[in-house]
Symmetry: C2
Subunit: 476 residues, 2 copies
């Protein structure tokens, strides 16, 4: 048991020092490492496997919506950014610039894409002639770069992986509908695959994407009560279509400017999983995206027949499509329990001589730490059932935690107290930028999204008539 | 029929102007477009779907070999390249360099990766402590950049997509074995998935990867008889392990330097598919990687029941996992035939009122242009069977074409005549660099690979004793 204690001590206390807990967990479970260039990360196999599962799930959903994948160049001429005034203002300060290539100074500096509206807009203006070419729905899985001053693995790094969807439509209504459809796809995915309950809604002017008419975000509550923007969907109106001359000949013979939307999620989602579900023992991974769904730990492994029974069980689970590992290393069972708990594997099976004799196996759930016995001869259905229950219960538990931490505020004091004690705070807002800025200044909190459908009497900041209810929170 | 002729004329004659045929085909079938920055390409959905199928097939093979995916940063400090002398010499001239980021000049310029041995070596030296950590087998799917002067879509562009595998081992033998295993994986994949017969073998010193001990390539013959290097596998010995201090504590307690290998294929493979199988009508795509495997063209579509029968057929094929499109556009059947032939779809089904009445469908193979009738009620097995035959026959036809164009040369004249008339030329070689350079100078051909297991009396260039037989060819 000495080892066990020693092991758990390697991770900082999640309640006392959440930032250090996060760093400990991502490094020690080998999800990620720091790259040699400041602000960059190496996504290690255990972390990348989560990303692969995210990609698989999302990509299938995109294709169902008629979206096709493509690939656009990494390097964008700097002049492209200046075509959309707000866009250049938003992105130019954090761009990485190539000035030398092939041993020569370039005539025009090239930006490494921070996002691809400008280059995709340029290509679309070439590809689209008629209403018959629309709607156009394209997505790319790629790396992007935004030079950030303060970085943390998965949450904010100078380079990250993401997908960016871009659609072009004949009408504003259709483009807006597509914006909302993709927001819905993200929400369904976050809840059903990542077990993360999210609040979706429109963002304020201050928080919207540089160049968008409207930005919709999905916000998730982390263990410390702070919010993490887990995805965004932007209605771009004709802003980019005008700047990049995306025009089409309509049915009525008139040449019209198109309407566009864009939407994206990134490797940040891995950070969201860690900080939504993690506990004092480490990661707790939702089965749908867990690289390993089930680990088999042999008990008294040297006894005749134990390893053979474990290997047989592994084969059966594998054949059923369950991602399973048999830990037949030299470490003690106790050490293995800690190791695989820290790595967040949803289900652990313990199998020893007595279990085998009795035709049973002991299954431990990572989320609740409950243990239960199941007959060995129906192992597949037992584990499948367990994984489904873990997935469902993780979402419900996260939702209950979050819902218990949404409070209402009538004034600035209550906003401050609310966010300081780790809550999402709903408050009336008059709609003016000054009041939004004041919340930032006093409470270090930002407007996450409009609380759709809710109303309030007064603005919690200035006391004037409230036009909206806003969810304020401190955020990553 | 006027339309049909007009359509075919849009592509240059494959026999008279192969380079123009290539450009016409890749642009007109919407595989690719030129990016705004010189030398870059946009991979359009029809081209990217081929890449996705390639990824799916290769990725499964890599995982079977115990390789795990990861992701390493795009930007590499310039100083990393200088650690391996030959490597920096090979890659520094074509590197794109970031000198400004976040509005500030960088203290150290950063290279956009042309390949990742240096950064992966750096991380491995941190991760590997003991022989227990080995072998380490990592792969990444990513973009890389090499600033090329002359570019062509898929074949040579400043940015391209690829996978790069990197392995670390305790012994030279194991690293060499891994190098050969991956070369074998590539060959099996090229032949069975792309229907491209390849010759694999070691490269000469002149042609090997900058920093490798030995490079093995796979060479495919294109329509014009030129060779295309379709993939490489490098045995790196201790070159990178020494430079980046990848050391491990061995079983015997001694600290030893590891041995490494690396291997890669890229979007160049799409160019290989086009130039191996294409014909006067356009693309001919192998079923395993074709984005659309089967197209249904309704005949007399306005007649009652035709579109319904086509939709039903489509549903059946789709349910069986066949990638199928129903072309119910307003274009004439003749126009559609040309369109889908140009796009290289392996199987076309024609379905009209008389076919439906007779319970039959007419299937046309893209590769042989043969047509045959099949009963509608066993459509799935008919199409599955056809796709399998097309796949197999495409490989055999390509192999027969290639084998008929491998000639032997006894002297420089014969080498020149051989490559000029579009052949791979096998010739004896003394092993000296001067003779290899002379073949380049006189015949504009390079040593592709050693013809393993073959012997010759004399060097075809200098007449001295031959040490090896080399396959010379003009190459892309």
């Amino acid at each position: 048991m000495a080892k066990e204690t020693q092991f758990v001590e390697q991770i900082a206390d999640i309640e006392k020092d959440f930032p250090q807990w996060y760093t400990d967990v991502v490094i020690k479970t080998k999800l990620v490492d720091y790259g040699p260039v400041k602000g960059t990360m190496v996504i290690r196999p255990y972390g990348y496997a989560i990303w692969e599962n995210i990609q698989k799930e999302l990509d299938a959903r995109f294709k169902k919506e008629g979206v096709e994948n493509a690939y656009f160049p990494l390097l964008i001429p700097m002049s492209f950014f200046t075509k959309e005034a707000e866009h250049v203002e938003g992105f130019a300060p954090e761009v990485a610039v190539v000035t030398v290539a092939g041993g020569e100074k370039l005539a025009e500096p090239l930006a490494i894409r921070p996002t691809s509206e400008t280059i995709i807009g340029t290509m679309c203006s070439k590809w689209i002639q008629s209403y018959r070419d629309l709607p156009l729905k394209i997505n790319q899985w790629c790396n992007v770069m935004r030079w950030e001053k303060t970085t943390r693995p998965f949450l904010r790094t100078s380079e990250f992986l993401w997908q960016e969807g871009h659609t072009v439509h004949t009408t504003a209504e259709e483009a807006e509908a597509s914006t909302m459809t993709m927001l819905g796809v993200y929400k369904e995915f976050a809840e059903n695959c990542l077990a993360i309950p999210v609040i979706t809604g429109r963002k304020t002017e201050k928080e919207r994407f540089a160049g968008a008419v409207a930005t919709y975000g999905m916000e998730a509550m982390m263990h410390d009560g702070k919010s993490l923007q887990a995805g965004t969907s932007h209605y771009l109106g004709q802003n980019f279509a005008s700047a990049f001359e995306i025009k089409f000949l309509d049915k009525d013979g008139a040449l019209k400017t198109a309407y566009t939307s864009s939407w994206g999620v990134s490797t940040r989602l891995i950070g969201a999983i860690i900080m939504t579900h993690g506990d004092s023992r480490g990661l707790v991974l939702p089965p749908v995206v867990a690289p390993v769904q089930c680990v088999i730990v042999p008990i008294a492994a040297r006894k005749g027949g134990v390893l053979e029974a474990c290997a047989k069980l592994k084969g059966e689970l594998e054949a059923a499509g369950i991602r399973v590992v048999l830990d037949d290393s030299d470490n003690s069972p106790g050490w293995k329990f800690n190791e695989w708990e820290m790595k967040g594997v949803p289900v652990r099976i313990e199998l020893g001589p007595r279990d085998i004799e009795a035709g049973k196996m002991l299954c431990a759930r990572r989320d609740t730490l409950e243990k239960e016995e199941y007959p060995l001869d129906s192992a597949v259905s037992a584990v499948e059932g367990l994984l489904a229950r873990v997935q469902k219960d993780m979402l419900e538990a996260a939702r209950a935690r979050r819902d218990s931490r949404i409070v209402y505020a009538e004034n600035m004091d209550e906003i401050l107290r609310g966010v300081e004690t780790g809550n999402f705070v709903k408050a009336g807002w008059c709609g003016c930028r000054e009041c939004e800025d004041k919340v930032k200044e006093v409470a270090a909190a930002t407007a996450r999204v409009y609380a759709e459908g809710e109303t309030a009497e007064k603005c919690a900041v200035c006391g004037k008539k409230a036009e909206h209810v806003i969810i304020f929170a401190r955020a990553y």
